[in-house]
Structures are given as structure tokens and as C-alpha cells.
Amino acid sequence: MVTIGWEATGVLDGGQLAAREAVREVVASGFRSLDALLPAGGVRRGSLIEWLAGGAAGGMAGAGAMSLAGAVACRLARAGDEPGTIVVIDRTGWFHPPAVLPWLGCGAEAARLIVARPAHDDDEIWAIDQALRCAGVAAVLVWPRVAASPGGGLVAGRRCAAQSWTIAMRRWQLAARSSGAVGLFVRPATSQGEPSFAEARIAVTPSPGGTLLERRLRLTRVGGSWAGGPDADEPAVDVVLDMARGTAGAVRHRGAAGAFEQREAACRAS
């Protein structure tokens, strides 16, 4: 009787897959409490991370998820031996680079920022795939599509059909794995129910307070690699984003420490 092992068929079982995944470099995200939330203890090169912006539907505008993703991307681009490249796939044309450009660093250490503006959904999927497949790219940032609503507000625009997005995401996962680029996808919180191939899914909600150049964000882990649904017991952490430098900011205790400061201090201690 002939038995064919998994190796012979080219299919890896879970353990082998995990072992192969573990070989790849893990880079600190620059935010210690965020690292604690990620399964690998940092951002693993060649993986995808999803950021779900805002809590309620439609409340994603102004939540700070994109700024945080941009800060992580800059950190990833500057973490290697030589500065990497960040590719922003900007389907909406709303990306305003002066927010991120000061975070890239200066001189020889500066990372490179490239913006691509696809005009169609299929072009966008193709462009994300190409960018993730490229060896010199450190991070690929993808913004959700928004449109100005008739009432003058901002609503999350209709993404292409969820199914094609999911299929494409599998392709992106493989593409990222082949090159080591990290895909950072900012999506509205309403897409939480959709299946995902991201290594981590993190919901970002803003915390009120903070100074002009510091934003307080509350991060909740809402799903791992293959899971989709929300989990009430998942831990939540707080980070402070320094808007001027794109790094973790220090918490300033002004008067009595509020609930935010206590939580943040607890995260730092752990």
C-alpha cells in the first residue's frame, strides 16, 4: 500500500504552516500596547492587518484608524537596514500627504511614499496585488472608499462585492507572503462580519481628550487570522499617537489620572 504524505502533495498542515510563518521577521509596531495585541507580538513581515475604523456604522470618519495605520507603515519602512517604500492605494483621491510626509524621516534615512490612484475597482484590486508582490515595498496602505453623501456628509462608499474582495484578499495574502510586504487595510466597522485573511483585525475607536498633537485611541482585537465574528472577551488597549512625529506619545498626567491614563499605565507595565 502506498501512502502519500502531506509533503508529497505540497500541502502543509497547520503545524508546518505555523512553523514556516514563524521564520519571518517580526517588527515592533512602535506602539507597545499594540504589539501586545498582535498575535506575533509585533507586525510580522508578509502579513495583512485590518483596521476597523469607528464603532457605529457611519461613524468611521475622524476615528484615527488611518493615522495609526500610516504611523505603523512609516515605522515598518524605517525598521529595515535601508529605508523601504510605502505604497498608498488611494481609490478615493482624498489622501492628503502632508499628514504623513513629516513622519517619513529625512535625509538618507527617509522612507519613500508612493501614491497610486486607481480609477476602477478592478484596477484597485490589481494595484494592491502588484504592490504587495513587490520586494522593495515595506507596507501597502489601503483606504476605504468614501463619497460625499448628498447631504454633504461623508459615508463609506460601496465597496465592490464582498465576495470578490474576499477572494482578492486571499491573493493578497499570498502576494504579501512572497515578498514580505505588510498590507494595512483600513475598513469601516460594518465589514466586521465579512471573512478575512488578515493575521489580525483591530478595531480603532477614538477616546476623547488628548492634546492638539496627541490623539488617544482605543484598540480592540476583534478577530484573528481565520476568524470573523466579534469576540466580547478580546482584550482592548489604549495607545497615544503623536501626530507630529507619527510615534507613540507620552501620556501626560494632568491632575487626577483618568480612566484612560490608568488603563494605559497598566498596559505599559504588563
Binding site: T85, W94, P98, P118, G136, G153
Partner: protein, 585 residues
């Protein structure tokens, strides 16, 4: 003696834009260069189709190149009213694109003769002339008069205003082309009388008889009456000539060579020698005239309904190899490539236009696989119909490739990443369009929308040699780059998301008014959501200078709502209306 045809395209920077965007013909177009402190200087301007009742000469605005834009606008307002100024389109100077378009036109002009050159402008002026050696080829056009006429009117049919002239030397034909009115009036008698063409109101073409450029007087001396400016002298020398009473070429020709050499700067003697033919002036071929090209004709045309892509791909790959090999041998790579699929005229005459695929690269490449991939990407999106009779590949632009030694063992190379990103940029630009892929840079500008510019990626010399790149910049550019510190100082205060136009915020039952007279809003509505402002930072007042057109005066606030979301809103100081101008998303 040779015969040179000069095609002069007056105000070429504007003409080029009018051809590319015909809708600009109805409005005044200014092509401006940005000087220090944001001052705009008019390089060239035109109003192709002014309102009919006002296009007379006495009402034509007198705007000279080198005038500040504000002054030019004032002149335009005096002749045509302020409405014309509001309609005016101001374009930034782009000498590289002007030159590239002129080179394309020069290649097209090879229909008149194989030897085509571009004018070599003196100083920082831009080239506006194409010069063609038509010695012996005028016979194919039924003589020199029909040739100049054909050249002028074929270009008119392409939407270009051109003036053409033929003379013995490049300098003489340059002069004749710039003053066709004067030359045409003098040699109207010698013009071919069989011509059935009506004489246009303003003569656009002229033919100088052989040897006429050496004559200072007489019936044949058609060039002697031209002003001294036609010799391409600089303003200081022209002033010198005017002081001694010489204002025409004839006056200079009457002087002896010795007195010219002793009295005037050497440029005068040189220009005069070039003019008369005593000193040879070579035609400068357009860049890339010697670039490789390859073509393949099929024995039987390929019908599109058959699966022809594999065959086409194989042929294209072979042709690309044929083009790249001679380039790679001298260390060059392809920057731009054109693939033409020639179609046969089938039953439908429409099907006979060739399919042209232009591929542009951000950095030169000599890798056949990469080039073929780019062509394939474009070919995937082209609907091929009819029958393909031949395929031609032509290299349009080349650039040096950085060669590096191959290593024996496959190790991680440091510059592999940069090369891979270069390939990615070419692929993205090939499918999304060149304008859709860019590298943003900060510039010193108070108005937030204009605080950054999209530059084509790869224009930066290399990562890490920023200091080296700065040395090459002229001094005023360095000063401007030094001023970039101000947007850098605004770091953290700019939103990551900015709508293309400020979104008006609707007043919410008068609750949008600020508590303080100049303070932030307390509540505003965005779509269906009502936001209560918990805290606000500001105001940051931004005003633009009057010479930039419509004045912008705004008070910006960073407002944080009760839920912690941050927005960037401003109050227009003119009328107190509120707008959303960014989201700290």
C-alpha cells in the same frame, strides 16, 4: 548650396497646449514661470479665439514675454474687461514637455526630407523652430513654393499656426520665417504666378532665392530689409547696433568684415557669417533620431478572430530584443517605447488605422521581460479588430541604465529593492496611467490644498543623495526648498483625508454659530450625523497673497467631537460660512 526649410511655430508653449486641449482655444491662456516669492512671469500667452468683435489689432492686448502675470492680467482687463481675466487659464511652464512635443513634430516632418533638425536657441529661450534640409527634395513637391505652402497648410490642418521659409542657410531661413510678411512683400513679383492659391492676408510662407542672403541691395536682396533682430542677437548687442544707426541686416552687410570685427562683439561677426553661409551651421538632429526600431510584416495578415495573442506576443518579444540589444551594448536602456500594429484595410475602411501602444518608463530598463510585460499589460486592454498585417516597435526615448556586476551566488542585494520598486512603478503607470502614480512632496505654500505637489516618481536622484541633488538646483530653488520648513512645522496639524473641495457645513437651527465671536463652532451637522464639539484647537488663520488670483482668507480649527473624532473645519472670513476641509481619519 544647400536649401534649408525652417518651420517656425510662434508661441509654441501655448500652441502645444491648445492642440492637446482644444477647449483652451476659447479662453486666454498664459504660460507662466514661477519665480521667487511666488511671482509669476508670463513666458508666452495667446487667445486663439477672442470674441469676434474685439479681435481687432488696435484692441489687442500688448503683453510681452517676461511681464509679471499681474501686469499682464491688468493689460488684458483694460482691453477685454475683467471677465476675460476670470476666464483666463494660467499654466505652469514645462520646457521639457514643450521640447518633447517639438521633437515629435520634427519626426513627423521627415515627410519633407530625411534630414530634420531642431533650432538651437541662444540663452534660455525655448526652441520654436524645426529646420529641414530640403536640398534636392523640393522637386518631389513640385517646387519650393508648393513645398513651403504645403508645409504651412498641413500644419494648419493639424491645428498649428506655422510660418515657413526656404533659404540657403539655416540662419537666413530662420530670419525669413520670422519675417515672412517683409520677405513676402518683396518677392511677391518672383512668386510662381501659376499658383491658383489666393494670397492670404498675412503671408505665412516665403522663399528666398539662392544667394540672396549675401546681397545688401538690389531687387534680389529680399533679406536686406529685415530688422537686425532677425540675426538672433541679444538685446545688448542690438542696442549697440541701434546706437550707430544700423537697424537692418542690409546695413550690416554693407560694412566690411574688418570693421565689424573691430567695432562689435564677436557674436555679430559669427551670426553674420552663419547668415551668409561663410560659416557652416549644422542642423541639430532631434534627440533620439538614431534610436533603434524593428518591424515585422506577416506573410498573411493575422485575423483578430483567431487566437493571435500568442503569435503577437512572440513577434513583439523578438522585435523588442532587436531594439534592446544595440542599446544595451552602449549601456543604455529604454525609457519610452512605441508598438504599432498595422492593420489592413478590410471591408471597413475604418479598420485601417494602426493600433498604437505607447509605453513610458520611470527609469530606463534594458530588461526584455519587463518591457514585454508592460506591452502585454497594455495590449490586454486594447480591443483588436480587423487583420494585423505588420508589427513595428520603435524606441522613442533612451536613458542610461545602471549596470552592476552579477554575483556568482544568489545573495540578497541591497539595490534589488529599488529595482523592484522601479518595475512596480512602471507596471502601475502602465495600467493606471502616468498621472495616477506619483510621489508627493511638500512645498512652501500657505494654502493647504497647494501645500504639496505630485511629482513623477523617480525624479529624485536616489534615496540617500538628497544633498547631492540639491547642489544642482539653482539658488532660488534652494531658497524655496529651505522654506519647506514651514509645512514641516505644521506637522500633526494637517488631516490625512482632505476632500477635493471644501464641504459646506449646514447650519443646524442656528446652533452652528460659535459662542465666541471668532471662536470654533459648538455643533455642526455632517450628513445625517450631528456632532457636538467637545474641544477645539485654533484658530489657525490662513490667507493667500493678492497676486495669486482669488484671495483665500480662512480661520481653521481642529475640532474634536464628544466621541473623540477629529475634523478640520474653517470659517470663510469673507462671509462667515463654515466648511469641512479635512478629516483626521
Amino acid at each position: 548650396m544647400s536649401r534649408i526649410l525652417t518651420i517656425w511655430l510662434p508661441r509654441w508653449p501655448v500652441q502645444r497646449r491648445l492642440v492637446e486641449r482644444p477647449e483652451l482655444r476659447r479662453v486666454p491662456v498664459f504660460v507662466c514661470r514661477r519665480e521667487r516669492r511666488g511671482l509669476m512671469t508670463v513666458i508666452s500667452w495667446a487667445w486663439a479665439e477672442p470674441p469676434s468683435d474685439r479681435g481687432r489689432d488696435n484692441r489687442r492686448p500688448r503683453i510681452a514675454p517676461g511681464m509679471p502675470l499681474a501686469e499682464a492680467m491688468a493689460v488684458l482687463a483694460m482691453t477685454h474687461g475683467s471677465r476675460a481675466c476670470h476666464a483666463a487659464v494660467v499654466e505652469h511652464d514645462d520646457p521639457a514637455a514643450d521640447r518633447a512635443a517639438l521633437e515629435r513634430l520634427a519626426r513627423w516632418c521627415r515627410r519633407f526630407s530625411p534630414t530634420v533638425g531642431l533650432e538651437q536657441p541662444s540663452g534660455d529661450a525655448a526652441a520654436e523652430c524645426i529646420q529641414i534640409d530640403v536640398t534636392g527634395t523640393a522637386g518631389f513637391f513640385d517646387g519650393e513654393w508648393p513645398l513651403v505652402r504645403t508645409a504651412a497648410w498641413t500644419l494648419t490642418a493639424r491645428g498649428l499656426h506655422a510660418r515657413t521659409a526656404i533659404a540657403d542657410t539655416p540662419a537666413a531661413s530662420w530670419a525669413a520665417a520670422h519675417y515672412t510678411d517683409l520677405v513676402g512683400a518683396r518677392n511677391a513679383a518672383t512668386e510662381d504666378r501659376r499658383s491658383a492659391w489666393p494670397r492670404p492676408r498675412r503671408q505665412r510662407f516665403a522663399v528666398v532665392p539662392p544667394g540672396a542672403q549675401r546681397l545688401a541691395s538690389g531687387d534680389e536682396a529680399v533679406l536686406a530689409g529685415l530688422p537686425a533682430e532677425a540675426l538672433r542677437l541679444d538685446a545688448a548687442t542690438l542696442g549697440l547696433l541701434r546706437e550707430v544707426g544700423i537697424d537692418s541686416i542690409g546695413g550690416l552687410l554693407r560694412l566690411s568684415a574688418k570693421s565689424i570685427a573691430t567695432r562689435f562683439p564677436p557674436l555679430v561677426a559669427r551670426r553674420l557669417a552663419e547668415f551668409s553661409g561663410a560659416r557652416a551651421e549644422p542642423l541639430a538632429a532631434p534627440h533620439g533620431a538614431e534610436l533603434p526600431q524593428a518591424a515585422h510584416a506577416f506573410d498573411f495578415p493575422l485575423a483578430a478572430r483567431d487566437a493571435i495573442r500568442p503569435a503577437l506576443d512572440a513577434v513583439i518579444e523578438r522585435l523588442v530584443v532587436a531594439c534592446v540589444v544595440p542599446l544595451a551594448a552602449r549601456g543604455d536602456g529604454v525609457l519610452a517605447l512605441q508598438v504599432r500594429l498595422e492593420r489592413t484595410a478590410g471591408l471597413l475602411a475604418l479598420a485601417a488605422t494602426p493600433i498604437v501602444i505607447d509605453v513610458g518608463l520611470f527609469r530606463a530598463s534594458a530588461t526584455v521581460r519587463h518591457l514585454v510585460d508592460l506591452v502585454r499589460l497594455r495590449l490586454d486592454r486594447v480591443q483588436i479588430s480587423g487583420e494585423i498585417a505588420a508589427v513595428a516597435v520603435e524606441v522613442v526615448a533612451v536613458g542610461p541604465v545602471d549596470c552592476r556586476q552579477r554575483s556568482l551566488f544568489a545573495t540578497e542585494r541591497r539595490d534589488d529593492g529599488a529595482a523592484a520598486v522601479g518595475g512596480l512603478l512602471d507596471r502601475l503607470a502602465g495600467r493606471l496611467g502616468r498621472a495616477a502614480v506619483f510621489e508627493p512632496r511638500l512645498v512652501a505654500d500657505a494654502q493647504p490644498e497647494h501645500a504639496w505637489i505630485a511629482t513623477p516618481p523617480g525624479s529624485r536622484p536616489a534615496v540617500g543623495s538628497v544633498a547631492g541633488g540639491r547642489e544642482r538646483l539653482p539658488r532660488d530653488r534652494v531658497r524655496r526648498e529651505g522654506a519647506v520648513a514651514s509645512p514641516q512645522a505644521a506637522a500633526g496639524r494637517r488631516p490625512i483625508w482632505m476632500p477635493p473641495k471644501p464641504v459646506p457645513l449646514e447650519p443646524l437651527r442656528a446652533a452652528l454659530v460659535a459662542v465666541a465671536p471668532d471662536g470654533p463652532p459648538v455643533r455642526f451637522r455632517l450628513g445625517d450625523d450631528v456632532h457636538d464639539v467637545a474641544q477645539a484647537h485654533g484658530p489657525e488663520r490662513i490667507e493667500t497673497a493678492w497676486w495669486r488670483g482669488a484671495t483665500v482668507r480662512r480661520d481653521y480649527f481642529i475640532v474634536e467631537t464628544r466621541s473623540g473624532a477629529r475634523f478640520w473645519v474653517f470659517r470663510r472670513l469673507r462671509d462667515g460660512a463654515w466648511f469641512l476641509h479635512g478629516v483626521f481619519a
